[in-house]
Symmetry: none
Subunit: 270 residues, 2 copies
Amino acid sequence: MQERVPATITQFEERLIDVSDSLPKRLRQCAEYVAANKDRIAVSTVAEMAEGAGVQPSAFMRFCRILGFSGFSEMQRLFRDSYSGGWPDYSTRLKNLREKAEGTPFALLAEFVDVGRASLENLLKTIDAKTLDDAVEALAKAQMIHIIGLRRSFPVASYIAYAFEKMNVPAMLHSGVGGLDNHNAIRPGDVLLAVTFSPYAAETIEMVEAVSSRGIPVVAMTDTIVSPLRKFDAITLSVSEVDFGAFRSLSATLCLAIVLSVAVGTKRSE
Amino acid sequence: MQERVPATITQFEERLIDVSDSLPKRLRQCAEYVAANKDRIAVSTVAEMAEGAGVQPSAFMRFCRILGFSGFSEMQRLFRDSYSGGWPDYSTRLKNLREKAEGTPFALLAEFVDVGRASLENLLKTIDAKTLDDAVEALAKAQMIHIIGLRRSFPVASYIAYAFEKMNVPAMLHSGVGGLDNHNAIRPGDVLLAVTFSPYAAETIEMVEAVSSRGIPVVAMTDTIVSPLRKFDAITLSVSEVDFGAFRSLSATLCLAIVLSVAVGTKRSE
DNA sequence: CGGAATTTGGAATATATGTTCTATTTTGCT
DNA sequence: AGCAAAATAGAACATATATTCCAAATTCCG
């Protein structure tokens, strides 16, 4: 019985198939129940799993052992971690890496590549297809698209402005150069695309507020659902990105920005 | 604080938005972390959630109470019950998504997420650790760092400028606002960080040429080794990004930009 | 600036949950 | 049927985890 412990869900499944032919009654019940309810492993206790399978907890424990784990906890950990890729505390990892002088730039790079990948995967899970459709729809109908995004969000805003220009979409980037406000450039029939992340730039919030009260549609790219933009009835695309200190890996945000640009550009030229 | 306990995820979100305006510091951290990682609640312990939010477990407990639960366990139960598991794993999900949602913005998102991931993976393979070290070294020694990146590279340049500012690194972004050149701001002891990708912006090349001939060190972020910047003896970090149509997913480039910023910022403060 | 109220950190405690052990039952074999 | 080996149930035990409590720090107000 000294097989090595499954390290991935796939290995787990293979092992499950392997053993399931030579199993006594109770353990077979476990195998069948687990096969049919893999997704419950991450969120259940042994007692619950055992009851579901119609066996005693101790029987279920033996079952875990046969699969190669030291116990139920170890098996559960596999499922808990592999759900959502497991990006628990990148920000502390990065902080440590940065503080410890031993962190070479290359190690830092590896870490950030990983963060970016996790963020991208997560993006697919958290973006709601319907909301994305609505956003594209609203922007495609706009006479002119106004873009605002300051400080840490400015790279995103400027990227979108560039992409729109390349796709012949009328757009205006409100960068605040020279402290000019240009609020009056925003007119009925236009749409505002606002990008802001914690700590939210006051100017952005103000602009959304002003524009929203005039009945002009707003599409927002922001983090989480507790963003202050929630107060106004904007179409909100929330992107959660790993950040630490002042830094934010913008992978997911920029990815969404490209998608918006391309989708809107395509739709308008139809 | 005797509100009734949220019975659905939607109610939970509403409650979260309700309270999140009137929350002290630590509890606000909890709210933000939870909003960004709702999916982790089902499979984490209080200790893990607390660590993720950067607070003590006891603080997280108070947070659960404010949301209307008797404790963390009750809140977790809500998420465990409505947990359906996001399997099968990433690659198959992506494939399904693309086939099923063909032509929709969401399919486009899946496409770009994949492109981004590929670019990031590729970055690790193509960046040379030694060159990266040299670049960090050169930038860390600079009196002042001048940053240039125009058109499609501008988001990257502006990101770097922001990051340097936050890390108290003296830096100047040459954005060309108003057609002013500011060549004379670049002085001996300074370093130029140039970002450019095909089709290379003439202004950037010119600046590199001018500066380089004055004996001022240049660090370049560019694509491939055939970039025109090769002519000048700059420290060249080449990033090959996967293109999708006319658009460039900047994931890898921005990732490298963050790494440079953080590494340089850290090194200077040693 | 000083005192009250709130918020916070950390250790102490309670509880739930996983794990092990052993007597008993079942199964397989001759 | 009778014996040995394997499997099982259930209780006892160990550990991980949630929860509470209170002193210290902070913020708020007059």
